[in-house]
Symmetry: C2
Subunit: 215 residues, 2 copies
């Protein structure tokens, strides 16, 4: 029997690459809407259009699929905050961070829900990443915000809770999509709610931060 990934050729076949991608995409569907424990290999295999043993030829365990997905998502998730630039204009930096996070909620809701499921259930697989890389990044950007506040460029406020509130408000539109749609009703048929949300959030945060900036 041949070993799938990391074969002796060291070079991944075209088939391998295709199938692994199909599996990960299917797994993202399943994991993001059922959580880890609530998802089954059979579900993923069916969604990927292959038999269970065939799927297990590419990923040895259910955990392996999940881990790879989580790793990708974590990277993607940190990107917008990485882009936060200390040299930029505070107002436009924060505004575009909000906009990017909201775009991610719109364009990658499955990734958002995968992450939400993981954290909601105690983050058993990513506790280290949260306490390590994530915390360090947030610490760094919080310091930037604090500096802006001290320079009087924005209102004084707790930078950590500012970041939390941007995370929560934007991700809400992915994670609680069903609820948002239910409450907005027919009016939310299209993607208009994301534009409305963008307008609202920009007003909320920009006005809130500008309010006492001059004082």
């Amino acid at each position: 029997m041949a070993v799938p990934r990391a074969a002796k050729t060291q070079r991944r076949t075209r088939i391998q690459e295709e199938k692994e991608e199909r599996i990960l995409d299917a797994a993202l569907d399943v994991f993001s809407s059922n959580g880890f424990r609530g998802s089954t290999i059979d579900q993923i295999a069916e969604a990927a259009g292959m038999s269970k043993p065939n799927l297990l030829y590419y990923f040895r365990t259910k955990e392996a699929i999940h881990r790879q997905l989580i790793d990708r998502v974590l990277f993607t998730w940190l990107e917008p905050l990485q882009a936060f630039d200390a040299e930029g204009r505070p107002e436009s930096e924060i505004r575009s961070y909000i906009r990017r996070k909201l775009e991610m909620a719109r364009d990658f809701p499955r990734e958002s829900r995968l992450f939400a499921n993981e954290v909601l259930q105690g983050a058993p697989h990513i506790e280290d990443e949260l306490k390590g890389p994530l915390k360090e990044l947030v610490d760094e950007k919080a310091e930037v915000i604090r500096t802006w506040a001290r320079a009087g460029k924005i209102a004084k406020c707790d930078p950590y809770h500012l970041i939390f509130s941007i995370w929560s408000t934007t991700q809400h539109y992915a994670d609680f999509d069903v609820q948002v749609r239910a409450v907005l009703g027919q009016a939310s048929a299209g993607e208009g709610r994301f534009e409305d949300a963008a307008r609202f959030l920009e007003q909320l945060f920009m006005d809130g931060l500008r309010a006492r900036a001059g004082k």
Copy 2:
């Protein structure tokens, strides 16, 4: 064999009441941290300190336990928004709504997570409640907010997204507790983060809503 609830006596024993409460409490633990599909009757039974058949004597199915929990939580969850008073002062109404929601995130995190799990996974058990009672309540309160804005008492803004942002920012401290703790580090040992959050959120929302109220 005796039928547990709704016995012919029509009157619930003290034992029944106690055991059912213990089961629901244990189930809240388990469901809130594993989701519905990720939770097992055995886990709940063990957490409740009884055998599985014994538990099933009080609740015929896993669904039955979950449904009862969800019903309770839904009721509790709507209460603060119910209290929103059209006759009150806009500023204090919104402020106290935020405070109450944040207190609930602090005091009933399991309930918040149970609800979050449910909605995150597509709200299969409560879609009707969301589209019915919840939507109606939100519609009603949104109209109140809109009236306040038209009267110039608060800044003009989309009332639905205002409500969403209050929900998301406050519930974030329950649902993403692990992440919040990880990022804040040791500093969040106590419950201080809730007071910090309260200060931050009040400033954010009140300044944001006041900003253009005068214009």
